[in-house]
């Protein structure tokens, strides 16, 4: 397995706050990782550091073995990553769906026709081709989430970073998203509190506590939402 990203002793704190990441070490190649932790524990901060929206105050970030320092390195790194924001309204900024999806490919230097072609392909793949000419802000929350995922997938990322993708989704869209992510063969880090979803879409589980990242050792804990009292928490069946 080749390592795509590597964090080496990274520290980060927001102004006037306790350090949120403290000598954090982490590497990912082609794993499918679920990331858990309480609110404010630094999950989103970690993803933002991985894509360079935040810069580590101490420690280093490596991309395919070489350290990422300049804005050019970051640009190269970002081409390999696809970040799905918590709130799709922050991610969809073009008037129509097709324009929003074509934005990335056009920035990559594709021609109008190529960009359109590729955007339509991805819409077809996600089974939302009918949305192509819709006005983005009039979509439902679930549709917005799928379109946002399309804007990310159209860039052919090697690693997906998903920030609470199932939050506020209707059950139907949640099912759809689960199926899509289960079948995609792309490495990923998924932040979520949705245990069933993580079980289906990831193989390993990490948690952040007190600024440190731990792998939950027993592989993926057995979790699902069923009726007994521990149904909403990770637990082992005896």
């Amino acid at each position: 397995m080749s390592t795509l990203l590597n964090l080496d002793n990274v520290c980060f704190s927001y102004p006037h706050c306790q350090p949120i990441l403290n000598n954090c070490n982490f590497s990912i190649g082609d794993q499918r990782i679920g990331l858990i932790g309480s609110n404010g524990s630094g999950k989103t901060t970690l993803l933002k550091i991985l894509v360079g929206l935040l810069k580590p105050q101490q420690g280093r970030l490596f991309h395919q073995g070489s350290e990422v320092t300049s804005e050019r390195d970051y640009r190269k790194l970002r081409k390999n990553l696809g970040f799905l924001f918590q709130n799709s309204n922050d991610q969809l900024f073009s008037p129509t769906v097709i324009e929003d999806i074509a934005f990335g490919p056009l920035n990559m230097g594709l021609t109008q026709d190529q960009a359109r072609e590729r955007s339509l392909q991805i819409l077809k793949k996600l089974d939302i081709l009918s949305l192509q000419d819709q006005i983005t802000h009039r979509l439902s929350g679930g549709e917005k989430k799928l379109v946002a995922l399309a804007t990310v997938l159209v860039m052919n990322p090697r690693l997906l970073l998903l920030d609470e993708p199932t939050n506020n989704l209707d059950p139907e869209t949640r099912e759809k998203l689960t199926a899509i992510l289960r079948d995609l063969e792309i490495a990923r880090i998924i932040i979520s509190h949705d245990w069933d979803f993580l079980t289906e879409t990831t193989d390993e589980l990490y948690s952040i506590e007190h600024g440190h990242l731990h792998q939950c050792k027993d592989g993926h804990v057995h979790v699902h939402q069923h009726v007994h009292e521990h149904g909403d928490k990770p637990h082992h069946h005896s």
Partner: protein
């Protein structure tokens, strides 16, 4: 806010080429606006009505819009006859300026005629396609981006403001003419700005992650130009030129 109400429809104007409609409109509307006399203004108005008929616009909504947009011209139509000066004539004992009355009338015709043309020609396209049309006609990428982004976020900001306003109302805020009201509105607007500011930073991040570095490449629509578009365009150009000449020389 019922935006883009007229942009959906199956008329030839809805299907027409945005670029040609823009070119035609950007000549026709100023020509109409500067016409100095009633004769030409009425012909312009007739053409505007014709365009409205071709576009098969929902009449009720059109009239609604016109009423709302007429405050300024009605203000002039009422004040000019009383203030313009020149030869007066009497209506119920009030001296009314004939020149002011005629000018006010001309303005009302022009305002409404132009708005009809504006709705029929440009209102029948979406803002997104108009933005791209303007871009293709030479409006800079940055201004186009600014236009499309601000259009996109109008609705987000409006909803945000309304949410805050509702929250204030639930807590017993009833607006009146007093400092408390104005301070509260200031805070509501300030809060809306803070939220929009934060959101604009996040959107900027999202754009950077997808390879944005200052160059804006809009996705253009494949243009489909029909004979109708060309006839419409030539008609608008000819009408504008001929009527302008007649207005100023005839």
């Amino acid at each position: 806010m019922k935006e883009e109400r007229f942009s959906v429809g199956g008329s030839p104007l809805h299907r027409g080429s945005v670029k040609l409609k823009l070119c035609g409109g950007l000549l026709f509307i100023p020509a109409f606006a500067i016409t100095p006399s009633y004769r030409e203004a009425l012909i312009f108005l007739f053409i505007s009505l014709l365009l409205t008929a071709i576009a098969r616009l929902p009449l009720k909504h059109v009239i609604n819009r016109l009423v709302l947009a007429n405050f300024f011209s009605l203000f002039l139509f009422i004040t000019l006859p009383l203030t313009y000066g020149g030869d007066p004539f009497l209506i119920w004992g009030v001296p009314v300026s004939k020149a002011g009355f005629l000018l006010g009338g001309l303005i009302v015709i022009k305002t409404n005629g132009i708005l009809l043309a504006l709705i029929a020609l440009l209102g029948t396209s979406t803002v997104s396609s108009l933005g791209h049309g303007l871009n293709a006609l030479g409006v800079s990428d940055r201004l186009t981006a600014l236009l499309l982004f601000s259009y996109r976020y109008i609705f987000v900001i409006e909803q945000e403001f309304k949410r805050l306003q509702r929250a204030a109302k639930i807590r017993g805020f009833s607006p009146g003419t007093n400092v408390h009201t104005y301070r509260t509105f200031g805070y509501l607007i300030g809060m809306t700005m803070v939220k929009s500011w934060d959101q604009s930073q996040r959107i900027h991040d999202a754009m950077v992650l997808r390879g944005y570095d200052g160059q804006f490449f809009p996705l253009t629509n494949p243009s489909n130009r029909s004979p109708f578009d060309l006839i419409l365009f030539l008609g608008l150009v000819l009408a504008s030129i001929i009527l302008t000449f007649l207005g100023y020389l005839g």
